[in-house]
Subunit: 343 residues, 2 copies
């Protein structure tokens, strides 16, 4: 609870000198530095957040975010989380700037990240691809001193501060768990993934299949197809597959494309006869849940992800030494018709 002022008095130096020492800035003699450090330690000095924040108001903080949200409803809750955090922190001089892009093309991502870097934000928050070229761009930014958080999908080996997002494997396993409560019948599954290159989709599938095995639910992957998170493609792929695979009784949709899949199922007259496993609470899925076309949705607290990413970065910028940034893994949430609406 000691303040800089107290340390300065006790050390017989000025507050400016103490500040220099504590920030490892040069221009202080070794002996003075040592003395100040000793006293600071002795007094258990921890900088006061309120003081820091107020002083920081002079140089407003901006946080730059990359979101591949164009045409993807899922991200709107994350954006709400950004906005909520921005509002909460606005009095502390924080503002959030989002770079919106579409899809998962690596060069688009790299261009957007470079653009954000050129804007000189105090920190970055990135939802991007874990590919070598992207990694090196991010590493570069981090080495130049800008803290980076990975959001919703991780880029582990870049030196990012932490990952904020869900555990996709657990989400898949949870889907298997709840399915195994609902039915004990053998599952003949059509798997529709957004892309083989999206880590989260792969992990969901893996979690699902492994857990079904552990639960001793007989299980056959009838087919796996890629929809590129596109409803039309999802529709066509589903229709095509169902035509030739009469025994499919479960469709596992690892990414987007729910509307397309359900249309195809409906046209085949299989509505409510097939278990459709869906992730993330977007309007269409919510509607289908309420109509009992699907039984449950596995969600990942996107609002919290957006909020926590900004909050974490702010805390780090203000309080860097004090907080050791940890991964923030949001919970795997099961939504059914009864608990999908927050009252």
């Amino acid at each position: 609870m000691a303040t800089i002022k107290e340390i300065a008095e006790k050390a017989g130096v000025s507050r400016g000198t103490v500040d220099r020492v504590l920030h490892n800035r040069l221009g202080v003699s070794a002996e003075v530095s040592e003395k100040v450090r000793a006293i600071a330690n002795e007094l258990g000095f921890v900088p006061n957040k309120a003081g820091k924040i107020l002083a920081a108001c002079k140089q407003p903080i901006t946080i730059g975010c990359l979101l591949p949200d164009i045409g993807n409803k899922f991200f709107s809750d994350i954006i709400d989380g950004f906005n909520f955090a921005e509002k909460e922190l606005s009095d502390f001089g924080v503002s959030v700037k989002v770079e919106h892009i579409k899809g998962f093309d690596d060069s688009d991502h790299i261009a957007a990240i470079k653009k954000l870097a050129s804007e000189k934000h105090a920190a970055l928050c990135l939802t991007t691809l874990d590919l070598p070229e992207v990694q090196s761009v991010v590493q570069d930014i981090i080495q130049k001193g800008t803290p980076v958080i990975s959001l919703n999908t991780d880029i582990p080996d870049t030196g990012r501060l932490c990952y904020v997002g869900s555990n996709y494997y657990q989400a898949g396993a949870t889907a298997a768990g709840i399915l195994s409560l609902i039915t004990k019948e053998p599952q003949k599954v059509l798997i529709i993934t957004g892309s083989y290159h999206i880590r989260g989709h792969n992990e969901r599938i893996q979690g699902f299949t492994e857990r079904l095995k552990e639960k001793n639910i007989p299980f056959v992957k009838m087919q796996t197809v890629e929809s590129f998170d596109d409803d039309t493609q999802a529709y066509e792929q589903t229709l095509e597959t169902l035509k030739w695979n009469y025994t499919i009784n479960c469709i596992f949709i690892a990414g987007a494309g729910v509307a397309g899949v359900c249309r195809a199922v409906s046209e085949c007259g299989l509505e409510k006869k097939i278990h459709i496993i869906v992730f993330d609470d977007i309007p269409i899925s919510r509607k289908l849940l309420k109509e009992n076309v699907i039984d449950f949705i596995i969600c990942q607290q996107p609002f919290m992800q957006g909020y926590m990413a900004i909050k974490h970065l702010f805390d780090y910028l203000i309080d860097g030494k004090k907080v050791s940034p940890q991964n923030y893994i949001t919970e795997t949430v099961i939504k059914i018709a009864e608990n999908i609406d927050t009252v």
Copy 2:
């Protein structure tokens, strides 16, 4: 974004005067007051949180909490939430003091609330009974100027700032929803409530039964018993009831006593043959879930409740005019073996 200083300059008065006007303190002439108010409005003045917080550091804030947590594991997550909030706000001069009591005896509650009131906290956070005598004590405290939040169980007509807690009716309905996914069979239910006088328990039961009806699950209440949230009583009551009611296939535990109920079920050789419906994630329930003795637990985010209660009160104290305190209803969370552990 105007500051008090700017308003003072523009109005040609001192900052002290502006401060007085904005806080409706007396000692300002009507015309000056009017002028200042006009300019503040014109400039869209909103006090800066960082400034307020720093200035507030001089008079440390304490928040007093009442928790009937003695002998009740459920509350430990709420306390964790208190502690987390306290840590986050400690640099702003906030500390939390919890008054621990046991059970739901009204005179105990009143005594504890009066004790908290005598300690002159900046605000109170109460988990208590919604009974007339308690209400009047709370109303009194509020009228004397101390803001109060109701936590986990509401006391609506007292003028409390807001309620932070769960929607018990929804929790009950969600239990019915998931049960109806698992089984379509007629339910012959033993209901074990903690107390007929605990609002949350009643609401859970109501939500459960009404939703089962809506779902067209045939449903008979075989028996309803009171356990007073005590394991021994729950055990004995369950044993007694199961002896004479061979057809019971569902036990709905609205409050505590899970360990006792499950022991009785086990002794009757009915383990995994009866659906046991359980609320709140406490160690024993978690264990039973992992052992598949129970299929799911309906939870209410107690950590979040504790955290948000403190945060809300702090925001109100600092920012009173800006934030209009709203009820904070935590989500109804379904936990199964796969998603009970946060990874």
